[in-house]
């Protein structure tokens, strides 16, 4: 493997592998932080391992390391595949891979050393911001040049999301990186405009794109509806971009901004339900494929988590419910349902679904992957239950006038449970890295090389107006 490989598929493979590596790293930060919440003197007070430095390392490594790199890796495979061409330049995409790895790594180093912009979800300091924007633009260049030389006349929905997400995020990141002139609540509003765009206009479209690709392909059936995918796409960019201020509903920001954020957080469900209806109806009568394809199993579970997290998110963006849930562990649970459940499951599905396609090597062990699936499911489901209960305990106690300090001892059991469940996720992540490594080393079952995938395009052109089984 050369530093800047130009072999077709090498970029996708390297991005996917990086994703698996960063997941196995990022969850360790999470586990340490979770143990500190349960046993605060556990690490004895090391400067670099204090909770406030582990937390940004944890979620930035997960979001920008694991999720972004796996999902981009998938994109670098399905974009040329769906365009019936090859990637414009694997060399450039590999260069972007090294740059992006540098972003994630320097993020961890700077956070542990105490360098942070203090903007939640945008903690990277400005040199890293610049590097990230450059990388995004480089990727966008590769992707759009690939689209430009497509052989297929139509562009499949996965490509809209992937190409657009690169541009959206480059733009919002450039705005965010241009920090320095904003004070007080203006800064808060901007922070959450950026922060929420990272979920809504980066992680979500990347993951949805993979779902749109993997589900029809693994189920061997065309996508249910082109119209629904159009609705979902345009509703996503229209409504998701306005919702940032729902993180500040109880802060003294102007009421009109809160109203916009709350309304659009609910309107967002148009996009969510259109997507879910589309992919679930695609699977109608073919759900048995979930048992046959580990990639489909992960991605299908991810779409269910997506339904849950989005419905929950819209509900908690309403002022009434947020009075109870804001500032509590409910929100932490929500973040884990979204990033580990929805995006994490789809990213693991992308790794297992696309790695064999780009390397021609079958997955080392489907049984291990299945074990990982159940560990992640137990971990995520457990997080959802435990953290939601902890959040309700906190929120209802506070609303009843109980002092925060006196509620702390009630949370101990949930913090312990969360750390235990966290070990499930850590084991799952290490299994994934093991499985991916051995797959790449060619230790998988000896088989004929996999056939090239059938083109989704042909299928969609056929179904376009008349979905199968309608």
């Amino acid at each position: 493997m050369r530093f800047l490989d130009d072999q077709p598929g090498s970029a996708a493979r390297n991005w996917l592998l990086s994703g698996a590596v960063w997941m196995s790293t990022g969850v360790l930060f999470g586990l340490l932080a979770a143990i500190e919440m349960a046993a605060p003197d556990f690490l004895g007070g090391y400067r670099a391992l204090v909770f406030g430095r582990l937390r940004p390392s944890h979620f930035n490594t997960i979001i920008f390391g694991f999720l972004s790199m796996s999902l981009i890796g998938a994109g670098l495979h399905y974009v040329p595949h769906l365009c019936a061409t090859r990637l414009y330049s694997d060399k450039l995409a590999n260069a972007a891979m090294w740059l992006w790895n540098l972003v994630v790594l320097s993020g961890i180093v700077t956070f542990l050393l105490g360098y942070t912009s203090a903007h939640e979800y945008g903690e990277y300091i400005w040199p890293i911001d610049i590097l990230a924007v450059i990388t995004l633009l480089l990727l966008a260049y590769v992707v759009f040049r690939t689209i430009a030389r497509r052989e297929e006349p139509l562009i499949y929905v996965s490509i809209w999301y992937f190409g657009a997400a690169l541009l959206w995020t480059a733009v919002t990141w450039a705005f965010m990186g241009g920090t320095g002139a904003r004070y007080g609540l203006n800064d808060a509003v901007w922070t959450w405009f950026f922060g929420h765009n990272i979920f809504g206009l980066w992680v979500t479209p990347l993951a949805l794109a993979v779902a749109y690709y993997v589900i029809p392909r693994e189920a061997r059936t065309p996508l249910y509806s082109h119209t629904l995918s159009l609705i979902a796409f345009w509703a996503l960019i229209t409504f998701y971009s306005h919702t940032g201020t729902h993180h500040l509903l109880q802060a003294p920001v102007p009421a009109w901004q809160k109203v916009i954020a709350s309304i659009d957080s609910v309107m967002l469900l148009i996009s969510v339900y259109a997507f879910c209806a589309n992919v679930w109806l695609t699977l109608r009568g073919r759900l048995w494929r979930v048992e046959q394809s580990i990639a489909l199993k992960f991605v299908f579970a991810g779409t269910i988590w997506f339904f849950i997290v989005s419905t929950q998110g819209s509900a908690q963006s309403l002022m009434g419910l947020q009075r109870l849930t804001h500032f509590t562990n409910w929100t932490v649970g929500h973040a884990h349902i979204g990033l580990l459940g929805f995006a994490g499951f789809i990213a693991s599905g992308a790794i297992y679904g696309i790695l064999p396609q780009v390397t021609g090597k079958p997955i080392y062990s489907a049984a291990l992957a299945n074990f990982q699936y159940w560990l992640m499911l137990l971990g995520t489901g457990g997080f959802a239950i435990v953290l939601t209960i902890a959040g309700l305990v906190q929120g209802s106690a506070w609303l009843n006038g109980e002092a925060l300090y006196r509620v702390l001892p009630e949370l101990g059991v949930y913090m312990v449970a969360r750390a235990v469940l966290g070990t499930f996720v850590v084991v799952a992540a290490e299994i994934q890295l093991w499985n991916v490594t051995l797959t790449l080393l060619g230790r998988g079952p000896k088989r004929e090389p996999l056939e090239p995938a059938i083109s989704l395009f042909d299928q969609q052109l056929v179904e376009g107006q008349e979905p199968e089984g309608a």
Binding site: Y183, G184, N186, T191, A261, Q394
Partner: protein, 386 residues
């Protein structure tokens, strides 16, 4: 609709830009950046402390705004837009694992914060905050300065009062146990000093009191109530040694009053925002039985009667004690908030005790420490008996 790359890329980017203008730029252009009545610029030391706060991610567990529905710490003032005009970056926070800090300044002494940063369990045994012992002395000093500045001018008023009282308390402490207790007790209004604990020290009440003691008191006052808890090393004046009260004596009401209101200028914080009345009575009983050796609980007047105003409707009102004159406050504009922050809420015993304590300026305690008898020569008013 056929999606070309132009349609999805340029179309969606235009929508995103419109959203950015609508929810990003327009708020920035239209929001007036006018400082509120409490906002002020930070000193260089406070600004450095804010950097330490940022570097160590304090903002992930501590919010910095009070919401309309909040109780507890700092809830005397709901956050206003103008409170934050000097903040860059903002540190509003999104999780409240620890208490909100937007009004933290002046509620506790620097000593308390230092002990707390060494290990939060020293002062707050149930805390899950990390230790910050790894910070250098300079970093901790800066961090404390920043924390004491939270709350702006309101915090400044509290810090000023803490410092003023600290001198008097330190002088009293230096004079030895008896003089110190005499002085501390002189600060408690008469009706509280003579009030017995209305609740009997039953084993159950003592168990509840012990639970509260272990959660809130043990860090400073220690396992044996001798004032040698793990935090004591960093505190001056030292925490009270309850065992000495065996000789000097302390009524249930006196303990109650000091737990409720704290002792301004010392590291004894007030507990009225987190402990309800009965819990304070229970912990008073626990301290009295376990460390002082005797409790006046279950002596008359007991139960609800003890908490009523000792007023005979047919008798003329008693003369006001000297000390009810309100002490001068640093800024008249801040007076209502300061009173509220200090505890100017109606007390079970009646009156607004928080605002009516004597100041050193009036009694000159640093020079001559008045004994309780001299400070309050009026005999205890007769209580209504059941």
């Amino acid at each position: 609709m056929q999606m070309t790359e132009r349609a999805f890329a340029i179309g969606s980017l235009l929508i995103l830009l419109a959203a950015g203008v609508g929810v990003g730029f327009i708020p920035a252009w239209t929001t007036e950046q006018k400082p509120s009545d409490i906002a002020r610029r930070r000193t260089p030391l406070e600004a450095r402390g804010r950097q330490v706060y940022i570097q160590n991610g304090c903002t992930y567990c501590h919010t910095q705004y009070i919401r309309p529905q909040d109780w507890d710490h700092g809830a005397v003032r709901v956050a206003q837009q103008g409170d934050y005009v000097f903040d860059r970056p903002h540190l509003l926070g999104s999780e409240r694992t620890g208490p909100d800090l937007s009004q933290e300044g002046g509620l506790r002494t620097d000593d308390w914060h230092r002990a707390h940063f060494m290990n939060p369990r020293f002062t707050r045994p149930a805390s899950i905050m990390p230790q910050f012992r790894f910070l250098t002395d300079g970093e901790i000093t800066a961090l404390i300065a920043y924390v004491q500045s939270l709350g702006g001018k309101m915090a400044d008023a509290r810090v000023t009062r803490q410092k003023m009282w600290h001198k008097a308390l330190a002088a009293a402490f230096a004079r030895g146990t008896d003089a110190n207790f005499a002085y501390l007790h002189s600060l408690v209004p008469e009706q509280w000093r003579t009030m017995p604990n209305p609740y009997p020290p039953t084993p159950e009440a003592l168990a509840r009191g012990r639970f509260i003691y272990e959660q809130s008191c043990i860090g400073c006052h220690g396992n044996f109530g001798d004032g040698n808890g793990p935090a004591a090393r960093w505190l001056y004046p030292k925490p009270a040694n309850f065992t000495a009260l065996r000789r000097i004596g302390a009524s249930g009401g006196l303990l109650y009053y000091q737990i409720m209101n704290g002792i301004t200028g010392s590291s004894m914080p007030y507990f009225k925002t987190e402990l309800e009345s009965e819990k304070i009575w229970d912990v008073s009983n626990y301290i009295a039985v376990s460390f002082i050796g005797r409790s006046d609980g279950n002596t008359a007047p007991r139960g609800a009667d003890a908490a009523l105003e000792p007023v005979d409707p047919h008798a003329p009102p008693p003369p006001a004690p000297e000390s009810v004159t309100a002490p001068p406050l640093t800024s008249p504009a801040l007076q209502p908030e300061v009173n509220a922050a200090r505890g100017g809420m109606p007390m079970p015993g009646g009156g607004r005790q928080g605002a009516s304590s004597p100041t050193p300026a009036q009694t000159g305690p640093a020079q001559t420490l008045p004994s309780p008898r001299h400070a309050h020569p009026r005999p205890a008013p007769e209580r209504r008996r059941p």
